[in-house]
């Protein structure tokens, strides 16, 4: 893409995109750590993960402030305007992703004393892998302006939803089998729900990428079929 006549405008947009990428990397790391802490019952890692959320909150505020300044200073149009709107939306979603990850880490501290069977958490681990993959792919799609990739993330959310539903049934079965599993399984259910929500944020980001690149809303695409 050709550069702006005012080169500092290019710098500002580039830095904004870099901050989103950085924030995305941190959110991915946070989620990964939270899940690892959960699976290993690692309370130390959980505590560090909870603290890591602060930096993401800080980045979100920083991105928002810079985006507002760009609007005020440059009155962006067309793809520049869309890039800034996308930055707003994506940073917002990433902040929520980090919050959900932090909640998982908090649960690690809450379930510290619970008897733990690996069997119970296998499903959560699988779901977390899917969630992380979605997050990674959508951030790649953002970085490379890859609409196809964003669409794929959007479509694959169904898979997360399906795994979540089956995990729900599985955990319910464990609870019915043995009442002593109830506390642990309830915590795990909340963790699973958090990951399922993270998947929804990944699809939001996919929609933002679609809008940023094409200038149209993604609903239009799904309404009219992909052939258009």
């Amino acid at each position: 893409m050709s550069e702006h006549i005012v080169t500092s405008f290019d710098d500002e947009l580039r830095e904004l995109a870099q901050s989103i990428a950085q924030m995305g990397g941190l959110a991915e790391q946070l989620l990964e750590d939270a899940v690892t802490a959960l699976l290993r019952a690692d309370t130390e890692l959980a505590e560090r993960t909870i603290l890591a959320d602060r930096q993401i909150n800080f980045l979100e505020a920083d991105i928002e402030e810079r985006a507002i300044l760009i609007i005020a200073r440059r009155q962006p149009m067309a793809q520049d305007l869309r890039a800034i709107i996308a930055a707003f939306r994506i940073s917002n979603d990433l902040e929520r992703v980090a919050d959900l990850g932090k909640n998982i880490a908090r649960r690690v501290l809450a379930i510290e004393d619970q008897p733990f069977s690996q069997k119970l958490s296998v499903g959560v681990e699988h779901l977390a892998k899917l969630g992380l993959r979605q997050l990674k792919n959508v951030l790649d799609a953002y970085g490379s302006h890859d609409v196809e990739k964003a669409h794929k993330v959007w479509e694959e959310d169904d898979e997360i939803d399906a795994v979540y539903t089956s995990l729900f049934r599985e955990l319910l079965t464990y609870m019915m089998e043995d009442a002593r599993n109830i506390t642990m399984c309830t915590h795990l259910l909340f963790c699973a729900k958090n990951i399922e929500r993270i998947g929804d944020h990944a699809t939001n980001i996919a929609e933002a990428v679609h809008y940023m690149v094409t200038g149209t809303r993604m609903e239009e695409l799904t309404d009219h079929g992909e052939a258009d």
């Binding site: 050709s2 550069e3 009155q75 149009m77 793809q79």
Partner: protein, 295 residues
């Protein structure tokens, strides 16, 4: 005007040239952002239809094969870099280019289906129907009242003194100026502030009951407050008039117009709904221009 909008380089840009529509009821340039171009047609019929318009200044061509429909009771903004032909085009619409010795216009320009370059057109009457407001406010060196009364008087639009007074008051009111000047209508128009002078010129333009108002960068000499007043006025005027505005301010075009046409090197590049042009233009030249990438 002594400064016609000259197009400098005369290389046709690749790949976009307005196609000659065999059935020229179809607008010859790709429009953006319209899923269905039909609905506007009833409430906003085509007021000015231009086809295959070429303009030359001497042997220099300033406009190439221009085809565009200007819709009634809407604001159409013409944008594009200096020398792109947008001012040249609006000066064709009331035959202002006739006053430039070396200017030559060919092609078809119709106002309500009537060819305005036809020999039986009375140019004075045409200019009453198609008024113009310039970049620099240019009130006559006369009183505020006389500035507005002049047009209706020479066109014989007023039956008598009371009638004329009524036209002046109505025009000043429509131009949003009456309240500010009602106690000093006999003061010279040139004593008003820049923004007031521009609104006086707009009042003068609407006093002769035009159908179309052309505005050639009407706010570029005004401060932001005066600009906001004129923009508010434009929004109000479009209920009754067809407005074509040339502006260098993308934000202004986005604010005041419903349709936007992008010109480049004498060609019409893109024309469509303003909302779509500024969030999602289809042509790269439009994109580059409105985002400040035009080099």
């Amino acid at each position: 005007m002594s400064n016609p909008d000259m197009a400098e380089p005369i290389t046709p840009p690749a790949g976009h040239v307005a196609e000659e529509a065999a059935d020229d009821s179809v607008a010859p340039v790709a429009t953006v952002g319209e899923t269905d171009p039909a609905p506007a047609a009833d409430s906003h019929p085509v007021k000015i239809r231009s086809r295959n318009v070429d303009v030359f200044y001497g042997d220099k061509q300033a406009l190439f094969d221009l085809g565009i429909d200007i819709r009634a009771r809407m604001v159409t903004a013409l944008i594009g870099p200096s020398g792109c032909g947008k001012s040249t085009y609006i000066r064709c619409l009331n035959r202002m280019n006739d006053t430039i010795e070396i200017a030559r216009v060919s092609g078809l320009i119709e106002l309500d289906g009537q060819d305005i370059y036809s020999p039986d057109i009375d140019v004075v009457e045409l200019r009453a129907r198609v008024g113009i407001v310039f970049q620099k406010p240019n009130p006559f060196p006369k009183s505020i009242f006389e500035n507005v009364a002049y047009g209706p008087r020479i066109h014989g639009l007023a039956a008598g003194k009371t009638d004329l007074e009524e036209i002046v008051v109505t025009s000043l009111t429509r131009a949003g100026l009456f309240e500010e000047v009602k106690d000093r209508l006999e003061d010279p128009g040139t004593g008003l502030s820049g923004g007031q002078q521009q609104r006086l010129c707009i009042a003068r333009a609407i006093a002769v009951s035009p159908e179309v108002i052309l505005m050639d960068e009407p706010c570029s000499a005004l401060d932001p407050i005066a600009t906001a007043r004129v923009e508010e006025l434009i929004d109000d005027l479009r209920k009754n008039y067809t407005i074509v505005i040339v502006t260098h301010s993308m934000q202004q075009a986005a604010r005041v117009s419903q349709r936007t046409a992008m010109f480049h090197l004498g060609y019409l590049v893109e024309e469509g709904q303003t909302d779509a042009i500024f969030t999602n233009p289809t042509d790269k030249r439009t994109r580059d221009y409105i985002t400040g990438r035009y080099g």
